[in-house]
Amino acid sequence: MDIVGESIKFMVLGMLVVFTFIYVLVVLMGVQAKIINKFFPEKKQPMVSSASGAAPGEAAEEESRRIAAIIAAVSEFRKN
């Protein structure tokens, strides 16, 4: 039996299924995010937007990078 040929067929099928599954999941995630944020907006949102609005340009990027670093550090800390 030509198992190499057979395994190539598996590969085509497998990658197609995996990608389709994940792609549909990506689309659904986008849709649900839109729906949820439209009908159940979170109250904290205005605070975040005003913080980034107050510091324009370079400073805003610096600020957001610092926040990212803090989030990452906290999540890293929690994991240990």
């Binding site: 395994s7 590969m11 990658m15 599954f21 990078r65 990212a68």
Partner: protein, 443 residues
């Protein structure tokens, strides 16, 4: 009772001489019932005792192996497996101990696995047999694929899908990395068909290829379904490569990206609504039952754990899954898998083949993820650092940490961890889907 009876009849003998005869009859009767025991035991001199004791020792079993000795499953063991094989396994096991203790590579799994291997290689004791400790553990939860599912439940309860939901596109990277599984499937088939060094069936090739998904429980789950005879080698390969993520991945990541690409800064992730996190597990399970019911055990256990966590009302259950339950199961899983490290099972040409294919699979998964991220970076409005593609192999959270570390080397202060967690958790789903596809083929 007997003694009491005897004592009573002896008393009677003293009291009445007429009953003397009766008492003697009785005594001879009890002596007769004890006869079989004394049959087994014949008087031995001290030297005989010593030499018969030596016959039962492991030392004797290893120094002068016998033809007809069987392993736990009742198959005959070769002379090599009984003698030198065990010694070689002890060396391998001590190397695993070294990796776990001194190097800190996945000690939670390598240590119990290696210890299980140590116990499995004890001669005479027959620990891997149906009534041996390891055999009982193996039949209890590994032969029927139960333990890997419990582990998956715990992993689900520990996983935060927030980073993935914040940037759904990164899930595609977790899909690309599954090329590792199918690429190594072809690799294993080619190795078996063209070199003749090993002789793998398609089922065995599929079980081996799951190592590329870098997901221990999934590997064990598939191996016990498709190729239980290769379980030990597959589990050891999967877990040792997962442990070696920080060693294997960075060179591949650096080779495939330019310094400029590694310096890319990604936008901070948006805040994810609590409802999104709650609905996501349901979304995944609905898709599973529509498209791939064969992956339902794996994905079902995974999203159940996650759903319990995100619901926020069953913290007791979710904590149990994340801590005690997963710890208990890890002990059993490790020892049970270790039972397949018996010398007659492990020291075969196939193991070497599995180790090589596993390594290539891992490298291929990393490369596919990075290349996919480069491609997405070309077409995406928001910049994507190709390094996070490497986190598409599902070794959570190690792969994401490695991506973040390599990124921070290129640009200090650039934290990619949260971005890398997206592909990382998508990789878990991706490899479960890939496993489901392989299972559905062999149904």
């Amino acid at each position: 009772m007997k003694i009491k009876h005897l004592f009573f009849s002896m008393l009677m003998a003293f009291v009445a001489s007429t009953s003397f005869l009766h008492a003697q009859e009785h005594a001879s009767a009890t002596a007769q019932t004890e006869q079989p025991k004394s049959d087994v035991y014949v008087e031995k001199s001290m030297t005989q005792l010593a030499s018969s004791f030596y016959d039962t020792t492991g030392l004797k079993a290893m120094i002068s192996p016998k033809e007809e000795v069987a392993n736990g499953e009742g198959e005959k063991m070769s002379l090599f497996a009984q003698s030198w094989g065990r010694l070689i396994m002890f060396v391998i096991i001590f190397f695993l101990f070294y990796l776990a203790i001194a190097k800190g590579f996945e000690p939670l799994l390598l240590l119990p696995i290696a210890f299980g291997g140590l116990l499995a290689n004890i001669p005479v004791a027959n620990m891997t047999g149906d009534h041996g400790m390891l055999g009982i553990i193996y039949n209890m939860g590994i032969a029927n694929e139960f333990f890997p599912l419990l582990i998956f439940m715990g992993v689900g309860a520990m996983t935060d899908f927030g980073p993935l939901l914040a940037n759904p596109k990164t899930a595609l990277l977790g899909g690309a990395a599954q090329f590792a599984i199918f690429g190594s499937l072809v690799g294993a088939a080619a190795l078996s068909q063209y070199t003749g060094l090993v002789d793998f069936s398609l089922q065995q090739c599929s079980a081996i290829s799951i190592i590329g998904g870098a997901d221990g429980p999934t590997s064990i789950f598939i191996a016990s379904k498709l190729a239980p005879e290769l379980m030990g080698a597959i589990a050891v390969a999967a877990y040792s490569y997962m442990a070696l993520v920080p060693v294997i991945q960075p060179p591949i990541m650096k080779a495939l990206t330019t310094k400029e690409e590694r310096r890319i800064v990604m936008k901070p992730t948006r805040k994810v609504h609590k409802l999104e996190k709650l609905i996501f597990p349901l979304l995944v399970i609905v898709m599973t039952f529509l498209v791939l019911p064969d992956a339902a055990p794996l994905i079902g256990a995974f999203v159940f754990g996650n759903f319990a966590k995100e619901s926020g009302v069953v913290d007791r259950l979710s904590n149990e899954m994340q801590n005690s339950l997963i710890n208990i199961v890890t002990i059993f899983l490790g020892l049970g898998v270790g039972s397949k490290l018996a010398s007659d099972k492990f020291l075969v040409m196939e193991t070497l083949g599995i180790m090589v294919i596993g390594l290539l699979a891992f490298a291929a998964g990393t490369a596919a993820g990075v290349l996919m991220a480069k491609l997405m970076n070309k077409f995406s409005k928001e910049p994507i650092n190709p390094l996070i593609g490497a986190a598409g192999v599902s070794a959570v959270p190690m792969a994401a940490r490695v991506a973040s570390k390599v990124g921070a080397e290129a640009r200090p202060g650039n934290i990619l961890l949260m971005h890398a967690m997206g592909p990382n958790v998508a990789g878990v789903i991706g490899s479960a889907v890939a496993a489901g596809v392989l299972l559905s083929i062999f149904k």
